[in-house]
């Protein structure tokens, strides 16, 4: 019967401590009954017979899981809320990291690549902490049975549901937070003198000439409008005709500002001695203009996309 003892001990190891003794005792009684019946039929038992019976019972972990089914870390009742909270918090952490890294970048001699690395590693650190905290909070909540239906699910009305439309009408959280991060980044870069100390300001560098910087300052209400629009999208999460129209105007204005910026000459405030022997200043100017034209293609693409969507909705 050594095999039976080993089998029961293996099952017990997979069980919660509070249930080990009780289930082990019961499982032992059931197996012994089965072995008794087999011995009666065959007139005796060998270790091979016992092993065959145990094998038929199943792997100890499987048996333990049949007695005490594994509980998911997050209860299915909370899963939708968990995913939504996770995306929202990660989105906000990304925004905060954009603010932090951009301020650090502007006030130091950090290269753009290092800036991207700082942004990525900072976000990874924050998101790990955010992910762990949220998961722990939901794990604690899941230990208590969730209410079958939240207040929102109980008081819903079919008439309040948005019209059935194409799948793109639903605005993803990822899109909203990407836009928000872009607008926040632009505002920080344009208004960098406001949040830098005198010392930091002395060390800072701004690539565009004063004229170009002035144009960007004039364009900053667009970034504010963009933030307001993104926050509105966060509230509605569904493209309506008026929202699409607003987005077309906003992106059109952004494209116009970027293209206007590309016509400035000189565009960049460069120190010739730094670039001596590396690149000619004209080449750098040309590269910046090309970069701006390519950048303008993104809002322009959104303008075309939204016009087509508007037509479909109409």
């Amino acid at each position: 019967m050594e095999l039976v003892k080993r089998y029961i001990a293996a099952v017990q190891r997979e069980l919660p401590e509070t249930k080990r003794d009780e289930i082990g005792r019961e499982l032992n009684a059931n197996i012994m009954d089965q072995l008794d019946m087999l011995a009666e039929q065959q007139g005796g038992l060998t270790d091979t017979d016992i092993a065959a019976v145990l094998k038929q019972m199943g792997h100890p972990r499987t048996v333990a899981q049949q007695f005490v089914p594994p509980q998911p870390l997050i209860s299915p009742g909370y899963m939708a809320l968990y995913k939504n909270t996770l995306f929202m918090v990660l989105g906000i952490l990304f925004l905060l990291q954009v603010v932090d890294s951009t301020s650090a970048w502007l006030s130091s001699q950090m290269s753009f690549l290092l800036y991207m690395k700082s942004l990525a590693s900072g976000f990874m650190q924050d998101s790990l902490l955010g992910f762990t905290s949220i998961t722990l909070a939901f794990w604690l909540m899941s230990r208590h049975e969730p209410k079958q239906h939240s207040r929102c699910e109980q008081s819903w009305q079919p008439e309040q549901l948005p019209k059935a439309g194409p799948h793109w009408q639903h605005i993803s959280l990822q899109d909203i937070f990407t836009d928000l991060a872009t607008y926040v980044f632009l505002l920080i870069v344009i208004w960098y003198p406001l949040w830098l100390s005198t010392e930091q300001l002395a060390n800072s560098r701004f690539l565009f000439t004063d004229n170009a910087h002035q144009l960007l300052k004039w364009a900053s209400p667009l970034a504010l409008l963009g933030i307001a629009s993104s926050l509105w999208q966060l509230r509605k999460r569904f493209w309506s005709q008026s929202m699409l129209l607003g987005n077309i105007v906003l992106n059109g204005a952004f494209a116009a500002v970027i293209l206007l910026l590309a016509t400035f000459s000189p565009l960049l405030k460069l120190e010739p001695e730094v670039w001596q022997g590396v690149l000619q200043l004209e080449q750098l100017e040309r590269a910046a203009v090309t970069g701006l034209v390519i950048t303008a293609m993104f809002p322009l693409w959104e303008v075309v996309r939204d016009i087509l969507r508007l037509k479909k909705l109409g």
Binding site: A29, N30, D36
Partner: protein
């Protein structure tokens, strides 16, 4: 339909019915192995891995009373329907009969249509 699909559907079909079969069998006290034998003799084959945890779950829900007893030189846990279990069995039996009648009609119509 593949064998795997058929097995999965059979399993789903049997899952609810097994509870009814176990409750009905436990009008008389039984221990795990004797209950399994009784079910097998009644034409319901159920493996240990399904039956023993099921009885425990039903007992935890208060549908079964249980008691450890010495018998044939060994201790055994005997289960029997509790008062709550008896009430539930009666309601489930009505539900089963209603479902069975409805399904018989539906299956009868379906088999006539296929002919």
């Amino acid at each position: 339909m593949t064998t795997a699909q058929l097995d999965k559907m059979r399993l789903e079909l049997r899952r609810g019915v097994l509870v009814l079969a176990v409750l009905a069998s436990l009008k008389q006290p039984h221990y795990g192995y004797s209950l399994r034998k009784q079910l097998q003799d009644g034409g319901i084959d159920i493996d240990e891995g399904t039956l023993y945890p099921l009885i425990r779950r039903l007992a935890e829900q208060g549908l079964l009373d249980s008691e450890w007893q010495q018998g044939e030189g060994r201790e055994r846990r005997y289960y029997q329907l509790s008062e709550l279990g008896t009430q539930l069995l009666s309601q489930l039996t009505d539900e089963w009969q209603h479902l069975n009648n409805s399904l018989s009609n539906l299956l009868g119509t379906a088999s006539q249509e296929t002919k």
